[in-house]
């Protein structure tokens, strides 16, 4: 018999593994099986928050026309999330799934020193996202790490929900640039793709890609241009490699699992099935 703690862990695991756009469906299923809302209510806030920030969900700014990503990088506590572009802080209710409040940026909310770089990266990020992620949004954060180095983090989240046709998908990219002054910049990136197709079945694509590259340093304009040129190159290379992998999986591995037809290039004559065996034995 699983303990209550075990059950909570299992249930939270299920919620965190919900495919993009299907979190509430998984909640409904879990509630239906658990029949103990009190148990779920205890851990729901933390799990909902974990899911939303991991998925980097996109919300509309309450004050402007732009989109903002809800991420761990922008989390201030008390349900508050940074919107650096909008120069504001949003309050996001994870259970309701909506922005419930907003306020102007306070002096302690961002690291002023990094702002010139963060703004330059942000301008490049918008250009890049507009060209390559029609269904996406980007949010760029600036901070300093414990060594005093500048850290600019670019988050891109692109999702399409098509439940009428039984599919959903999300692409998440996170690129972190770490540098001191105009010294060399260390760029690290992570790309995750999750696609779920579920008409008469359950098929999922899950990818996880990591890359690191050094980029020559410079002033905000120079560095941001160089970083995004590198991001474009690395993401395009990854995307091309993924397409190549698809072709190989379909042409080689899939065919090696099961042929389309036997070597005879015809379907089996089941009336004569035993004669096939004789032919094989004769080899």
């Amino acid at each position: 018999m699983a303990s209550e703690d075990d059950i909570v862990q299992i249930v939270n695991g299920f919620l965190l593994n919900a495919p993009p756009g299907e979190f509430m469906e998984v909640v409904t299923d879990v509630r239906g099986l658990l029949k103990n809302d009190a148990l779920l209510n205890e851990t729901a806030p933390a799990t909902f928050r974990e899911y939303n920030t991991e998925q980097m969900i996109k919300v509309a700014s309450p004050t402007g026309k732009h989109q903002v990503l809800i991420t761990k990088y922008g989390e201030l506590g008390n349900g508050e999330y940074l919107d650096p572009y909008g120069k504001q802080v949003l309050t996001f209710d994870h259970i309701k799934g909506e922005v419930t409040n907003h306020r102007a940026l306070g002096s302690g909310d961002i690291t002023q020193e990094v702002e010139p770089y963060r703004k330059a990266f942000e301008a490049e990020a918008f250009k890049y996202q507009n060209e390559h992620y029609e269904n996406g949004a980007t949010t760029v954060y600036g901070s300093k790490n414990s060594d005093g180095a500048f850290v600019v983090t670019t988050c891109i989240s692109s999702s399409i929900f098509n439940p009428q046709n039984y599919w959903n998908g999300r692409w998440r990219s996170v690129w972190t640039a770490t540098f001191s002054g105009s010294g060399e910049c260390e760029l690290t990136g992570n790309i995750r793709i999750n696609v779920h197709y579920y008409e008469d079945g359950n098929v999922q694509l899950n990818t996880n890609f990591n890359k690191a590259k050094k980029v020559p340093g410079g002033d905000p304009a120079k560095l941001s241009a160089a970083v995004f040129k590198t991001i474009l190159t690395l993401e395009s290379e990854f995307h091309t490699s993924l397409e190549k992998s698809y072709r190989k999986m379909g042409d080689t591995t899939f065919k090696a699992l099961r042929r389309a037809l036997p070597v005879t290039r015809a379907k089996i004559d089941w009336n004569k099935i035993s004669s096939y065996k004789l032919a094989a034995d004769m080899k």
Partner: protein, 295 residues
């Protein structure tokens, strides 16, 4: 029997609570099956174990309605491998289709009746050949069990894996076929076959720095029924063989389209390799050319 997903979403705070006993159990299994349609297929065994932990009363029903990747075990007596699933299980023992014996041994384990066992042997031989012709390897097993009167049921299982990681090729794959057949004999000389098929397919690769880890995993289901004459000798083998072969050909085509077509197309919609501005330029140019051609 699994049908298309027709659940509507209830809000978090508005899920209705069923009061009647019967409908409560119905709702539970619906929730469990819907959940299994959404959770990552690469973790199917853990997912099922988790659901069973939450609703242990549903254990038997879940084990018989949720397809899991097949396990291969060895029959020391016949010196052959066979596949185990809920259909050849009795308690904690599994029956080999070759020796017809249970492992661990059971002195009163459930086995098909004499005539049905004869058919089971013929089906195993026929599908052994089928497996060799289409899969060029792998393992197959067929299990039959009696239903009311002359009716019976059968399941045809096939498993094939592909793993060349030792030869430096990162791509791996597994194919599991589970075909469950209900055969009704309405009158002597005819039979009505109801086939429910699932193919589970997993293909993955891992190339750090190039593609990272890529996993395509899941399953597709399909159902079919037909009536056929059983007057010819070996009619059941011919009818069942033809039906399963046809079904696998259809499923293989759909799997190919969904796995290597649809999921890739979706990924390409999430991120466009060609810049939006270039795509727009091309569109505008096409429009211009079209209007010039018309005038």
């Amino acid at each position: 029997v699994r049908g298309p997903d027709t659940r509507s979403v209830s809000g978090y705070s508005r899920l209705p609570v069923q009061k009647e006993e019967g409908s409560e159990i119905m709702q539970d299994i619906e929730c469990a099956l819907d959940l299994m349609r959404r959770l990552p297929p690469s973790q199917i065994e853990d997912n099922l174990a988790g659901v069973i932990d939450i609703v242990p009363d549903l254990t038997e029903e879940l084990l018989s309605s949720v397809d899991q990747p097949l396990k291969i075990v060895h029959d020391g007596d016949s010196k052959r491998d066979y596949l185990i699933c809920d259909y050849n299980r009795d308690g904690d023992s599994f029956r080999s289709p070759w020796s017809n014996k249970f492992d661990p041994p059971l002195h009163d384990g459930q086995t098909p009746s004499g005539e049905l066992r004869e058919l089971e042997i013929k089906l195993n031989e026929a599908f052994d050949i089928y497996r060799d012709l289409y899969y060029e390897g792998g393992v197959s097993s067929v299990y039959c069990w009696n239903l009311d009167g002359p009716s019976f049921a059968a399941c045809i299982l096939i498993k094939k894996t592909q793993d060349h990681s030792k030869q430096g090729q990162p791509m791996k794959g597994t194919w599991d076929s589970v075909h469950v057949l209900e055969v009704e004999i309405p009158k002597k000389g005819t039979a009505h076959y109801k086939l429910t098929s699932t193919v589970m397919l997993t293909i993955d690769t891992n190339e750090p720095g190039v593609t990272g880890s890529v996993s395509l995993a899941g399953s597709l289901n399909r159902q079919e029924e037909k009536s056929a004459s059983t007057s010819e000798p070996n009619a059941h083998v011919v009818n069942i063989g033809t039906m399963v072969e046809g079904m696998e050909i259809k499923l293989r085509q759909t799997l190919e389209t969904i796995y290597f077509g649809k999921t890739k197309d979706i990924a390409n919609e999430l991120r466009q390799q060609v810049q939006s501005s270039v795509l727009k330029q091309r569109k505008d140019l096409t429009k211009q050319l079209n209007s010039q051609l018309k005038s």
